[in-house]
């Protein structure tokens, strides 16, 4: 049976429904969301093992064979992303036990979270381009509602921009689907790839490719379409920011990887050259934007933008090693970035602010937390032996092999600037003296309560993952390599999806 490919979508939907049924009891909702997330992680690991065995896992909904019915398909990239979704779900579920306020819980925090996970998993697993749109919308509606939980002024301002830009992106995506359907008359991605390969290559294909590039570029926050992200991501509840930072932009990146390896691989001189410029400028503007900021979560938000550039660089270079690097980078970044946001939440719990200028003195009072921050921070900057080093190393090596000297140089420079902003956070938040007149009772005198311990749990686990990937990168690299070889040889994917059509 191949039903494991549907489980990562069904489980969060079911958990979300049960959470709605338990609307009045926050305790039951907390337990349900934790259980549901653990089950999701289990199911996703099951999916990963069967993908490791068989290459592709395909399921035809309602037994309508492709290209007529809706297909769910997991290749290596999809399976990796779903496993990471499961990991983040568990981390956020544990963290939320301590960090979600009662007001948020009353307004459906847990059901929305599960709906978001279902949308994300659905986007990773669908083999049908219109279904991708539908899952995007499921994810977006949940994320809109999560972002404005609490209803503060900043959240409203952020949400207006977030909602507008995402709806614009959806409209462009939908228009591109319409044009593509008019051109090839099918919606199944594998079938589109076949039909588009047979059809004469006209300018229309390039137009559609650019429309997809813009639509997914907005979702992934790539240059020049990123400005909504630093304006909105830091406004929501911290667990929500962490989940968004880890997963939501990566869905856009995943869609770019999928579409530009499977469907629009005919004319890489045009599309991938465009991607290369986008990637370079994304890296640069993101990191420069971060350098100017003095708000913890805003710095981290700008860094999402800059890191997206590295992933796109992997796709844009379009060599086997570069794709490996891109996939590796996605894996590393989801773990690290979520972790950094979670730590910013702990700091907020201790000192009540995200403003770097008002923070300080944490190293003296809480050395463990400070060291825990250094792990993802240095990993993000790309220092060995952490996961970020290998991610950056593979991409830069690929850049050198492709003789893309300028881009590689910029990538290295951006790594240096990333280190600068991480050190800035470290120096301001953890190292310098606490500014006069700050209320430090929670930091210095407060006991480490159970709820604070609960917030530490996912941070420690994710830091462990970062270290594990850094010290024992080989199996992770092998998985990235397998997904890269599948991405660069779309015939396997096409064969797996359409092969069952007879």
């Amino acid at each position: 049976m191949t039903s494991e490919v549907a489980l990562p979508i069904i489980i969060p939907l079911l958990t979300g429904t049960l959470c709605v049924l338990a609307w009045r009891s926050s305790m039951a909702q907390r337990l349900l969301s934790l259980l549901g997330s653990l089950t999701l992680l289990g199911a996703s690991i099951w999916l990963l093992t069967s993908v490791l065995e068989s290459g592709h896992v395909v399921m035809y909904m309602g037994n309508w064979a492709a290209p007529y019915g809706i297909t769910l398909v997991a290749d290596m990239l999809g399976a990796i992303m779903v496993v990471l979704t499961g990991m983040m779900a568990v981390a956020i579920a544990v963290y939320s036990l301590a960090s979600a306020s009662q007001a948020h819980e009353r307004f459906g925090y847990y059901p929305l979270m599960q709906l978001l996970l279902a949308g994300v998993a659905g986007s990773f697993l669908t083999g049908d381009i219109f279904n991708l749109y539908v899952w995007f919308e499921v994810m977006l509606i949940a994320s809109f509602a999560l972002l404005i939980l609490g209803g503060e002024r900043a959240q409203m301002e952020g949400a207006v921009k977030y909602v507008t830009l995402n709806l614009l992106s959806s409209a462009i995506f939908l228009s591109a689907i319409g044009l593509l359907y008019g051109l090839v008359g099918t919606l199944n991605m594998a079938d589109i790839a076949v039909k588009l390969g047979e059809a004469e290559h006209t300018g229309m294909v390039d137009v559609i490719a650019v429309m997809f590039l813009i639509a997914f570029g907005i979702k992934a926050a790539a240059f020049p379409l990123f400005f909504w992200l630093p304006a909105s991501y830091h406004t929501g509840p911290v667990a929500v920011s962490a989940l968004f930072a880890g997963l939501l932009t990566k869905v856009g990146v995943y869609a770019l990887f999928r579409v530009f390896t499977l469907i629009f691989n005919e004319n890489p001189d045009f599309t991938h050259q465009l991607l290369l410029w986008m990637a370079t400028l994304t890296m640069l503007t993101g990191v420069l934007g971060a350098a100017a900021q003095f708000e913890f979560r805003r710095i981290l938000s700008f860094h999402i933008v800059s890191q997206i550039g590295y992933m796109l660089l992997g796709l844009a270079l379009f060599t086997p090693l570069a794709i490996v690097g891109g996939v590796f980078y996605i894996m590393h970044h989801i773990i690290v970035k979520t972790n950094l946001f979670l730590i910013s939440g702990i700091v907020h719990r201790l000192l009540g602010t995200y403003d770097l200028k008002k923070l300080g003195g944490i190293y003296k009072a809480r050395p463990v937390l400070s060291i825990l921050f250094l792990v993802p921070a240095l990993s993000l900057a790309g220092l060995p032996p952490l996961s970020g080093f290998f991610a950056k190393f593979i991409i830069i090596r690929a850049g050198i092999e492709a003789n893309a000297w300028v881009v590689t140089g910029i990538a290295l420079l951006v790594g240096l600037l990333t280190l600068y902003s991480m050190i800035k956070i470290w120096a301001e938040v953890f190292w310098k003296k606490l500014p006069e007149g700050t209320d430090d009772t929670a930091l210095v005198h407060g006991k480490t309560s159970t709820s604070l311990m609960l917030m530490y749990v996912p941070v420690v686990l994710l830091a462990g993952c970062t270290l594990f990937i850094g010290l024992n990168g080989q199996p992770i690299y092998a998985m990235a390599e397998m997904s890269a070889s599948q991405l660069l040889d779309p015939s396997q994917y096409i064969e797996a999806v359409l092969g069952g059509a007879q």
Binding site: R153, E157, V160, T164, A171, S175, G178, G185, A231, H234
Partner: protein, 116 residues
């Protein structure tokens, strides 16, 4: 003859949507979003081919419908897209209402506290 006319209508809708979204008022922003989703739906309808045909029903015992039939898939797509767009639009309307109540302005230029 129908298709070029539809193409012009779609183009006008997109233009109007972008124009509305670039105004400063959040109410006009929502109107722009509304026009945008309708433009996308009409685009699907047009680009999928506007054939005049019978409904795609298969007679009893046959495997294929006989004669020229209309392609049902774009209609299904548009129906889905309308439902989604409607849901999202309802959210957007509530959002700008709340945003107006909290920020006390409908001018997008004054909503940039989170930008810098």
């Amino acid at each position: 003859m129908m298709e070029p006319m539809m193409a012009i209508v779609v183009g006008l809708l997109y233009a109007a949507a972008v124009y509305m979204m670039l105004r400063r008022s959040i109410v006009k922003l929502v109107i722009g979003l509304m026009l945008l989703s309708n433009a996308a739906n009409l685009l699907i309808f047009t680009s999928a081919g506007m054939t005049r045909g019978a409904p795609p029903l298969i007679p009893e015992g046959a495997m294929l419908p006989d004669g020229v039939v209309a392609d049902p898939l774009p209609q299904a797509l548009i129906l889905t897209a309308i439902v989604i767009a409607f849901g999202v639009l309802a959210f957007a309307v509530v959002l700008i209402h709340r945003a107006y109540n909290i920020i006390r302005t409908d001018n997008l230029d004054q909503m940039k506290d989170t930008d810098t």
